[in-house]
């Protein structure tokens, strides 16, 4: 996918900004508060119907305005145009229109314009809680298949309902059994899908790590599904995974009633990142953390390209806060070698521009207080 243009209306401090994009590298620079990250958020909104920053829709709308919108015009790899418009209005649902039709839901467009984002928030993937790594995997899977999006939605919904059941004053046993069964069914399918997906993703992560770090360290990502310690989820059938979860459920039934809450399931899975057998979160150096993060993102690029048959667009937000000069240069090299378009925000536009190889279609976009003040070819 190649983004041709982006129109941002009333998003954060942008009143109306129109960006014409270069085929390969787009460097958005400006001071803090100039609105450069907002342009990436806008693209993300067009791709996933949400920003890569966890934020509610209302706070994306420019102060004093009722509504905001983003329109992205792009070109698919097979040379077919694609467009998407997402409109936000305070207190109402997002309105989404695209080449696929009007009145769409986020579920309809996720994956159509595949994007891979690296932002300062993402360091929590290697440093943070299990939920951060799970969210990473789920988000990649969601762009790859709609079924994952549905399963995640159902899991959250059933979990809430089941917790409400467990929290009730007198529990209706028949009904609780049914919510438990529904919960197990969804958890089992999700565990199976996560395990199988990771199996495909892992070699790509290992390869990317070596490319980024230049080191032959042994990289591993181990999926640890909750309540399924003795089950090989990648090879077992969903039915036998569900059977194992049923055992876990009955083992925990008493404690769940005491705690009035669900104590097992796919919302507690862990993805353990390892370097040379050691757990990254506990023992990796700063440099290893950075290389690992970039490796995960590059693997995400490759797998999205493989499953969707479409090169994702890469959004690098404030790269120098996460990457040193050499990792940044190598990342950009790899992204360009894969033929993907990338957008970079930085306060150091000159430094990034100097990294762009000759013969690349690159553009520099300078922003000030929510306005694009200059757009020129980066030689």
């Amino acid at each position: 996918m190649t983004i041709r243009s982006v129109t941002v209306v009333n998003v954060r401090n942008h009143e109306r900004s129109e960006l014409e994009c270069a085929q390969h590298v787009n460097i958005l620079s400006g001071r803090n508060g100039s609105g450069k990250t907002t342009v990436l958020e806008a693209m993300c909104l067009g791709a996933l119907a949400r920003s890569f920053v966890p934020v509610n829709d209302a706070s994306l709308i420019r102060r004093g305005e009722e509504a905001a919108s983003v329109t992205v015009h792009a070109q698919r790899d097979i040379d077919v145009p694609y467009f998407v418009t997402v409109r936000l209005r305070e207190g109402s649902r997002k309105r989404i229109e695209s080449s696929l039709g009007s009145n769409l839901t986020p579920r309809d467009i996720v994956g159509e314009l595949p994007v891979v984002t690296l932002s300062p928030d993402h360091k929590s993937i290697t440093f943070g809680a299990p939920s951060e790594r799970r969210a990473f995997l789920d988000a990649v899977m969601a762009q790859a298949s709609r079924r994952t999006t549905d399963l995640l939605f159902e899991l959250r919904r059933i979990l809430k309902q089941r917790n409400a059941m467990l929290d009730a004053v007198d529990v209706d046993e028949t009904q609780l059994t049914l919510w438990t069964e529904a919960f197990i069914t969804v958890s089992a399918e999700l565990a199976s899908r996560r395990a199988r997906f990771l199996k495909t993703l892992l070699p790509l992560i290992q390869q990317s790590y070596e490319q980024v770090s230049g080191k032959a360290e042994e990289i591993n990502v181990v999926y640890e599904p909750d309540g399924l310690e003795n089950v090989d989820v990648a090879t077992e059938t969903v039915e036998s995974i569900a059977a194992a979860l049923r055992e876990t459920a009955s083992r925990l039934a008493f404690r769940e009633r005491q705690r009035r809450s669900t104590l097992f399931g796919a919302q507690r899975d862990e993805l353990s990142l390892r370097i040379d057998g050691g757990i990254v979160k506990e023992s990796a150096s700063q440099g290893q953390h950075k290389s690992f993060l970039v490796a995960l993102k590059l693997a995400e690029c490759t797998i999205l390209h493989d499953v969707r048959g479409e090169r994702p667009v890469v959004l690098l937000d404030d790269v120098f806060s996460e990457l040193d000069r050499s990792r940044c240069e190598r990342t950009m090299e790899l992204v360009l070698a894969m033929g993907m378009q990338c957008f970079v925000t930085t306060t150091e536009g000159d430094t990034i521009a100097s990294m762009v190889p000759a013969g690349t279609d690159a553009r520099r976009i300078i922003l000030e207080r929510g306005h694009i003040v200059d757009m020129r070819e980066a030689a």
Binding site: R89, S92, R107, S145, R146, R147, D150, E154, R157, I158, K160, Q161, R162, A164, M165, A168, D172, T174, Q175, L178, W179, E181, A182
Partner: protein
């Protein structure tokens, strides 16, 4: 400051309705202002009358003006089948197909512990009370979401000991849609629910 409090009140009332935003509410209010007094009065009266006179059918619990709705009192309907739905609007949807000749039962909701809706809060008991010897099959046609699914299972378990056949509507690929454009969830379910030909 608003030029008219009574206009503002009407706008508020419309805006409180589902799917109607403030802009549409304003348009509706000004549209009504341009109508004759008689037209507006007839409109208002029809609302009041609807609220006062519409009640639940004694048998199937759908909305009706009488003790027993037209479907329940019709001689032509097949009394051995009951189609269970969540809302009165679902009855209209199925009736429009002209394919179904049995009776209905409206639950007025689905099991939803988060909202405090249990079996007592929807018309499940009334359904069970209808299952005398004459009913041979119930068709569960609830919404295809997690609440509808659990409610379907709940009712199926409840009627199983009574020796009544319970079926559910197929969740398949919509007619007129190309197979390749059906989303994977729909397609997965359609495959799961495949039938022998």
């Amino acid at each position: 400051m608003t030029p008219s409090d009574s206009i503002e009140t009407v706008i508020e009332q419309f805006a409180a309705l589902p799917t109607i935003g403030r802009k549409t509410a304003r348009r509706l209010a000004f549209h009504l202002l341009r109508q004759s007094e008689a037209t507006v009065e007839a409109f208002a009266k029809s609302l009041v009358r609807m609220r006062a006179e519409v009640r639940e059918c004694d048998v199937c619990k759908t909305f009706t003006d009488r003790e027993r709705c037209g479907i329940c009192s019709s001689e032509k309907r097949d009394r051995s089948i009951i189609c269970v739905v969540e809302e009165p609007g679902d009855v209209l949807a199925i009736e429009r197909t002209n394919e179904y000749r049995g009776l209905y039962h409206v639950l007025h909701g689905a099991l939803n512990p988060l909202d405090g809706i249990g079996p007592e809060e929807i018309r499940i008991k009334d359904l069970v009370a209808r299952l005398d010897g004459s009913v041979q099959e119930i068709i569960l046609a609830l919404n295809p979401n997690v609440e509808g699914e659990v409610t379907t299972q709940y009712i199926a378990r409840l009627v199983a000991p009574l020796g009544i056949r319970s079926t559910r509507i197929a969740r398949g690929v919509p007619i007129g849609a190309d197979l390749e454009f059906a989303d994977d969830a729909t397609l997965a379910r359609a495959l799961e629910g495949r039938t022998t030909i």
